[in-house]
Each structure stands twice: as C-alpha cells, then as structure tokens.
C-alpha cells in the first residue's frame, strides 16, 4: 500500500509516535471526555431517586416536551430545505450559484445571539413588524413561533451541507439516464437520487436534531424565559443552575447529553455505511 502511515517509516521512531498519541489522548480525556462523564457523575451524585424526581418535575417535563415539539417542527422543514437547496445547486448551473452556496452557510458564522436579536428587531414589540403583529393579535416573539424560527435559522445549513457535496460528487448521469427512460421528476428523485443520498441525509438530519434540541443563545433571546411556558430544555438547565439546584441542572443536562451521545453513535455508524 502506498498510503502506509508515516509512523511506520524508519525516519520517525516509535517513541515519537507514542509520545504524540499519548499527549493527544491525554488532552482529549481531560478536555473533552471529562466534561462529558462529569455531567452524568453529577446528575447521579445523589442517587437514582433524586435523579428521577428531578427529571419528573413538571417544569422539567414541560421543557422536555417543548424542546421535542420544536425539533419535530424544525427538523422536517430543514430536511426539505436541505434537499431543495442541494438539488438546485448540485444538479443545475445558474448565475449566482456560488453566492447561494455561501448564503446557505451564513447561519453557521452568525452567532445565535445575533440571530435572536435579529428576530426580536423584526417581530418584537419594538420591531419592524411589531405594530402590525400586535394589531392582528399575533405573537411571534416570547412564544413558540419565535423559538421555532430562531432554531430554523441556526440549524438551516445542517442537512444541505451534508447532502450538497455528495450530490455534487455523484454528478447527474444517473438522473439523466432516468429522464431518457421517461421518468418524471418525482420518480427520479425517489428512485434514483434519494437512495444515493439517504445516509448523508439521515446524517444531516441527526446533526440538525442534536443542534435544534440544544440551541441556547438564540432561543434565550426570543423565548422571554417564561417559566413553564417558553422554557426549552437548555434554558431550563440555566434556570435550575441559577436557582442553585445544581443536581437538578445536571439531571436536565444529562438528558441533553444523552441525545448528543446517541447522535454521535448514530453518526459514527452512518459514516461507516457511507464509506462502504
């Protein structure tokens, strides 16, 4: 094999290799693994019963429900958007294509806090649409729609970013062949394109879900932090922490951590599938 790892060449000693691996593993254990393990250690530090009581507290259950609801709305929308964006950009040539790709990535570089402020300035009482919304008795900010919209902003690129490069790499010969065989658009998509991108799509959806569930900064700005009403799970973690209920905060955080860990496991499995 020409791609033999350099570490096996005589120029670099096994000792150097071991030192580098050791430093890398050590730093990662301290810096990344320890915070992860610590969450569960703290959450269970007073035993199972206290943990269960914290999780089953009505306010926590409501936060879990609200967060789930937001994810249920946001993820399908972003999957649809991701597919549409990838289909437009990867399968067609048009002016401004490069700009569109950059635009799609914009939510990644904009701080969620800024996204929240943007939405507040648009839909809030003092915002541009504020008077009109009030006149029509519509509530966007400090309510579910605002939370959903900000979460959509923050997670918009996740699916597109996974599916787009794959669609570009695969080209469109198979789809063109389907066209010559008389397939319509929907048939092409479901029978040719979708099977080719399904793992990437699922992978994007998993990352999107993890992020949608965990969004804090943006949601924090537009939620108004109304206890038991607009408190998503991450906001609830902060609330419990500020109430000096550390074990409760860690218990709530452990459910989010569990979702993150599941997402990572699914991701690792999907990556294996995609490569094979």
């Amino acid at each position: 094999m020409t791609t033999a790892p350099l570490g096996q060449l005589p120029g670099q000693t096994r000792r150097d290799e071991r030192i580098l691996i050791g430093v890398a593993v050590g730093l990662t254990l301290l810096f990344i693994a320890a915070p992860l393990v610590f969450i569960f250690a703290r959450a269970f530090s007073q035993g199972w019963q206290v943990y269960a009581a914290n999780i089953l507290h009505p306010a926590t259950l409501h936060a879990i429900w609200l967060t789930t609801l937001v994810a249920i709305i946001v993820v399908p929308v972003n999957v649809a958007f991701g597919i549409a964006a990838a289909w437009a950009v990867a399968k067609h040539r048009f002016p401004g294509r490069g700009i569109l790709v950059t635009l799609i990535e914009i939510p990644f570089s904009i701080s969620p806090i800024i996204a929240g402020i943007c939405y507040l300035l648009l839909y809030g009482r003092q915002g541009i649409l504020g008077p009109w919304l009030q006149a029509n008795d519509l509530q966007v900010v400090f309510a579910l729609p605002g939370i959903v919209l900000v979460t959509m902003f923050v997670t918009a690129p996740f699916v597109a970013r996974e599916v787009l490069p794959l669609m570009q790499a695969q080209g469109s010969e198979q789809e063109q062949a389907a066209v010559t065989l008389g397939a319509n658009g929907w048939q092409i998509f479901t029978r040719v394109t979708l099977p080719n991108i399904k793992w990437a799509l699922l992978y994007g959806a998993v990352l999107c879900t993890a992020r949608a569930v965990g969004e804090f900064g943006g949601v924090s700005v537009v939620s108004g932090n109304i206890r038991g009403q607009t408190n998503t799970l991450p906001l609830h973690v902060e609330l419990l922490f500020n109430d000096l209920n550390a074990v409760g905060a860690f218990a709530a955080a452990s459910t989010l951590t569990l979702i993150a860990v599941v997402a990572l496991v699914v991701k690792t499995i999907l990556e294996g599938r995609r490569q094979s």
Partner: protein, 286 residues
C-alpha cells in the same frame, strides 16, 4: 435574486435536462429570504436608524470596549490553543494506528453535538472548587472559573472540531511520495513536517482556525456559566448585547450585534478565500 428564480427562458431551459429547477431554487430562495435575509436586514435597518453618531457612542462606551477586548483576547487564546491541539489531533488520527482511535475520533465531535449550555455548565462545575479539576489547579494558584481563562476554555471547547475536521481530510489526501522522497534524501522527521507536510496543510489549517475564531467570538451558551459576567472583567460582547435587550435598550443591543455581525461576515469571507486556496492547493499536490 428573484430574477434567477424566474429566469427560465427557453435558451437556458434547453440545456437543463433535469426537472425541478424552478421548484427547488424557488424553495431555497424563499426559505433563505424569510429565515436568514429578512431578519439580518432588520438588524441592519435598526443600525441605520441609530445613525453613525449614536452607533459610535454605543460601541465606544468603556463597557462595550472592555467587552470587545475581553471577547477578542479570549478568542485569540482559544484559537491559539486549538491551532496546536487541533493540528495534533488531526495528525494523530490520520497518521497513526492505535487502539481506541475510533473513539478518539468520535470524541472530537462531542463539542458539536453537546449543547453549549450543557458544556458550559459542566466545565464550570468541573473547574470550580468542588469539581474534579478546580482543587488541583487551585493548589497551583490557577483560577479558571470567573476569569478570562474560563472564557477562553469554553471557547476552545466549543470550537476545536473546526480545526480538526478541516485539516483531517487534507492530511488523508496527501501524497505520501513527497514525504518518502524527503526521507530518502535524509531529511529528519521534523524537517519533513515543517518543509513538506506543513506547507501542504497550511491553507486548510488557517481556514479551520479562522472558523474556530469566528465561532469563539459569537459563543454565548458555554461562556455565560463560567465567566461570572463581571462588567469590565469577564463580560463578553454577546452577553452585553443580551443585557442591553433585557434593559429594553434595543439600540444598544443592535449596535453591539452589528459589530459582531460585521466580524462574522469578514471572517466568513476570509475563511472562504482560504478554503478556495486550500482546495486549489490540494488539487495541485495530488
């Protein structure tokens, strides 16, 4: 923008074999417009409403200047750490085989998957007096929680995958022939790294560091817990914007948010230019 969506005139359409162009591009533009563009324009309009004089007064106030300084300094510290740690991780994950490598690789994604507020909560408790690391560091006279080091730590945690995940594919792609040639010419490993490997991954590494830096400037969730949020000491720009909102000072919030937005957009352009350079570089070195 809309001209592109409606421009389905005959000459262009003739070249398009695949259906669904108008539908997919239309959906994309509509979604982008409503979810991203209009809200961002709302912020810019608010900034215009404040006027240059008012804008300058807000962002040059001592508390805002301090917040920007703290944010920049901490982001620089975090990025410097990640530049080295991220590079090391990418190197070790690509070049060496060892037990547990897949777990190590998966751990690199933890900061992306873990909600930032959860990360912040955990880091704060971990480094506080009754955590696992706090007492050890305390004995050495190092205070992390409620200092700029805590801010930098939170920033470093949330942004490390950017460096690893940009450098990793480039390292994987590198033609080993170059290194082997250098080796047969008798170059020591360190010289091979600095003269052959590093120049090849430099554009990708810089792009990764830029993204990590941009992310650090905007990070909020992980920091609010560990910073202690003392004005002039550990108050970051994003938090100051948030506080202004809570005080119903929308001008103050908008002005600070605009500065952060400008930083983000400039860094996005820089990162894109670096990435374009990196992909040209990769094609050339293959």
């Amino acid at each position: 923008m809309t001209t592109a969506a409606t421009n389905t005139g005959a000459p262009i359409r003739a070249k398009r074999v695949l259906p669904g162009f108008t539908l997919s591009l239309g959906t994309t533009l509509l979604y982008m417009t409503f979810i991203v563009l209009i809200p961002v324009i709302a912020l810019i309009l608010k900034g215009a409403e404040i006027g240059p004089g008012g804008f300058w007064r807000i962002i040059s106030s001592p508390r805002a200047v301090a917040a920007f300084q703290i944010t920049l300094t901490a982001a620089l510290i975090a990025t410097a750490f990640n530049a080295i740690y991220g590079l090391l991780m990418a190197w070790v994950l690509v070049r060496y085989e060892f037990r547990g490598k897949r777990i190590l690789d998966a751990l690199m994604d933890v900061p992306f998957a873990l909600p930032t507020a959860v990360a912040g909560l955990s880091l704060t408790a971990l480094f506080s007096a009754n955590g696992w690391f706090g007492p050890v560091l305390d004995a050495m006279g190092i205070q992390v929680v409620y200092t700029i080091w805590g801010i930098a730590l939170a920033m470093a945690f949330t942004s490390v995958p950017f460096v690893v995940r940009t450098v990793q594919p480039v390292l994987e792609d590198m033609d080993p022939a170059l290194e082997q040639a250098a080796l047969t010419l008798g170059a020591p490993p360190w010289a091979i790294f600095t003269r052959v490997v590093f120049p090849a991954i430099l554009p990708a590494w810089l792009a990764g560091c830029t993204t990590a830096f941009a992310r650090s400037l905007g990070e909020f969730g992980a920091i609010v817990f560990i910073a202690g949020n003392l004005p002039f000491r550990t108050e970051i720009a994003a938090l100051l914007a948030y506080i202004r909102l809570e005080e119903f000072d929308y001008n103050g919030a908008a002005a600070i948010a605009l500065v952060l937005l400008a930083f983000a957009l400039v860094l996005l352009v820089v990162s894109n230019v670096l990435q374009a350079w990196a992909s040209r570089h990769r094609e050339a070195s293959r």
